[in-house]
Symmetry: C2
Subunit: 468 residues, 2 copies
């Protein structure tokens, strides 16, 4: 049986990886011309992957002529002849470039924050996209306004009004290909010589963006209410980055008192701004949604950011920011030469998707799924032997929670032990610049892509680490 | 008859603008509920726009419930009731934000570099995109590798090998949402403290990108062979930006001697690099294509950039760069945390589009169209009265050419005179940092979006400016 090591695929999807492997083996003659490929069903079973994935792989190879199909007999490697050109560039692909991980296969991956992909409303998205494409509207081919397609900005404004209590104009909205991209624009807008403040612990990627952009930043400690304002005030920073609705990774919510203090801090000096990253505010399971900080401040000092990559699918790169009017004017003056980075078709499709109520329905469905999943994860934990040595910390929101573990292992040892036993995890201390000890022995569990059985097995693995 | 001033639409497409106007008028009660809208045919004729555009506008309004259709009677404004929510955010849209231009309607626009939109292979693109969507492949929803989808990088490598004589691996390719975006990444990769060299005259947007990124640059004069190497050597710059296959806007081609000198300059110091922007190399009308500078240098000192926005449609935001191996390693080390900025569906669609030969066919068709268009433009010029007072400068390539005019007007006066008479144009001197006088009285004609009649009328307008 043809066997490929799926743990070696690293960043490639299973589909892409298998497609590449089989193609390469046919090109290299490892699979001889005329030889029969395993049946799709057998191949899927053998690799423990979905039949659909194998079907897609075979179909792609068929379309490109690497294999042929014979009715009732199956699939066969095609005879390719000698094509110097093709093999010449093919020989340049070092698969090893993607393969850094020599660990045993991962049974439970706590680090994967892929949205529940099975919930993506494929049928509706396909219907909407077909509708957009079938318009064959030449206008959709023309340069998109630098802020993004007007119809989408309008749908977003409507959405923010209805679901986040924010009254904003489509003219304040800038659409971009991902939140990281918009962070880059904000550095250019606010200035590279300002000092930026980040939460400690907090989302680490922002510091990486600041680093490659030669921007200075300070880490400000958070407590259970979020960023500590006295420490912020003493830091010299003028721009602060927060996620008040659901902090990553602690999950804390900034209460109204702290919010007011933060806004007061910003109002204290003319060019101070708060960047509010509302990355998963949609997924709040009980009570009313937490209003956005932006909605308390009438467009003065809060820059609001959100993304559809989290709510729809990681591979759909559409994010947006809402700028205070003053900054929007500055953006128009200094940066309207930049083209919008999101292709028009997808912007029009998303606008139609939102306007028809599909987005709302999708969020509702995902939320229901997360809530049920979270509940069953809690049940698995409550029934596990680990419960005596650990506690769960979760805030009724989002797609991750924390586990505090009684262990004498260091976090590095804990991670290593888990990985050796098929569990991939990150610790809270990895998101800390200082105070790693204070936040030690705390595991972050992203559960959106996790099933109950492997979670149960993973909890048993963690038993290896505990101390009475 | 319902009349909207299409000159006020600025950055909006006609479709979007009309959609917004009619919607707003219905919301504001300017078009009363129940009142009949003009027939699509009449409305199109009245505004001198395509019937298709009006059909799309009406259909969108119909879908969203702003208008209703009655068989054989036509379209009527719907009765919306009072919806405070809707009107509240609606009232924030200042259309005036888009309307800076109070000039008379433009009869000929020499500045529009929109690709010939009528040539976009809508049917094929729709077919390919439908094929991609109908796979319903969950893998396509997952996070895309930071360099871009492998299948697309492979298609690009194949294309570059076949059409630009470049032997590159898919692993050297980084896909991004537009060339501007990739310029930003290059600044982060090469360093903000380096000095960058730009062509004078040359494409101005790059300087704007450097400016908002706090990067220093020097302008280096070009002659008919391109950048003057002695001036470059004396400038202190280590990174140089060129378009050797077809300089914008002069159209000059860098001959092999100058190319060698430029490569020698780069090899002279360890961290010198050449950024080769190959933006319209596909559109060379006669003789063999000019090989890419990159192909002379075996992946050492040349960073190659190209875009599909120019060849397919401005609203499709897919560009790529090919990095020398050394820089690719550095990119992986310092910037692999950045997510790819192009949505997966469009990357897979483009890969399939290329692999099936559709891209090649499309390029061939557009090239044929441009060549024929260029030829007929030359005929219009040869038959015009202006020919006695002007000469054309074109290099058998691309979608623009130059007209040198005998005039005693300054370029500012020339532009103003033209604009007052319905011709929108840019002069070569606007692309100069120094030496504006030397390049004065030279008009850039982007002809891809221009028709022969309006070009003829525009040449008559230019007669107003000439001196014997």
């Amino acid at each position: 049986m043809l066997t490929y090591d799926l743990t070696q695929r690293a960043q490639l999807s299973i589909y892409e990886y298998l497609y590449q492997c089989i193609k390469q083996d046919i090109l290299d003659g490892v699979i001889a011309a005329g030889s029969r490929l395993p049946s799709k069903r057998m191949f899927a079973k053998h690799h423990q992957i979905s039949l659909k994935t194998v079907e897609n792989t075979y179909e792609q190879l068929l379309t490109e002529g690497y294999i042929c199909a014979e009715e009732r007999r199956g699939y066969f490697a095609a005879s390719l002849g000698t094509d110097g050109r093709r093999s010449r560039y093919q020989s340049h692909i070092p698969f090893s470039a993607y393969c850094a991980d020599n660990n045993p296969p991962c049974d439970a991956d706590f680090t994967s924050n892929q949205t529940a992909i099975d919930l993506f409303p494929y049928d509706t998205w396909v219907k909407v996209m077909r509708g957009i494409l079938s318009r064959r509207d030449p206008d959709m081919l023309k340069t998109v306004p630098f802020q993004g397609v007007y119809a989408l900005r309008q749908s977003i404004a409507k959405y923010l009004y209805g679901f986040r209590g924010m009254t904003v104009s489509p003219d304040q909205i800038v659409i971009g290909a991902g939140t990281e991209y918009l962070y880059g624009r904000l550095i250019q807008l606010l200035g590279r010589k300002r000092i930026y403040a980040l939460e400690n612990p907090g989302y680490r990627k922002i510091a990486k963006i600041y680093q490659v952009n030669d921007v200075s930043w300070k880490y400000i400690d958070i407590d259970e209410s979020g960023m500590q304002i006295d420490k912020l005030a003493g830091s010299g920073a003028d721009i602060v980055h927060v996620s008040p609705a659901h902090h990553f990774p602690t999950g804390s919510i900034m209460p109204i008192g702290r919010r007011r203090m933060l806004l007061d801090w910003a109002e204290d000096k003319p060019e101070r701004y708060i960047i509010e990253d509302d990355y998963d505010s949609e997924f709040r399971f009980s009570h009313r949604p937490i209003p956005a900080l932006q909605s308390l401040n009438h467009n003065h000092r809060v820059i609001y950011l959100n993304t559809f990559s989290k709510t729809l699918a990681p591979s759909i790169r559409i994010s947006y920011m809402v700028l205070p009017n003053k900054l929007m004017e500055r953006y128009i003056q200094t940066m309207n030469f930049y083209s919008c980075t999101v292709s028009a078709f997808e912007q029009y499709a998303l606008a139609a998707f939102m306007d028809n109520g599909y987005f709302e329905r999708h969020i509702h469905r995902v939320k229901k799924y997360y809530r049920a999943k979270r509940d069953s994860m809690m049940k698995v934990f409550a029934q596990s032997r680990l419960r005596t040595y650990a506690s769960v910390d979760e805030k009724d929101a989002g797609s991750h929670f924390l586990i505090h573990l009684n262990t004498s292992l260091s976090d590095t040892e804990l991670k290593w032990l888990a990985r050796e036993n098929g569990v991939s995890l990150d610790c809270l201390s990895e998101y800390c610049e200082t105070g790693k000890e204070q936040h030690a022995h705390t595991i972050i569990v992203n559960y959106s892509d996790l099933d109950e059985e492997s979670f149960g097995r993973a909890l048993d693995v963690l038993l290896l680490a505990v101390t009475d």
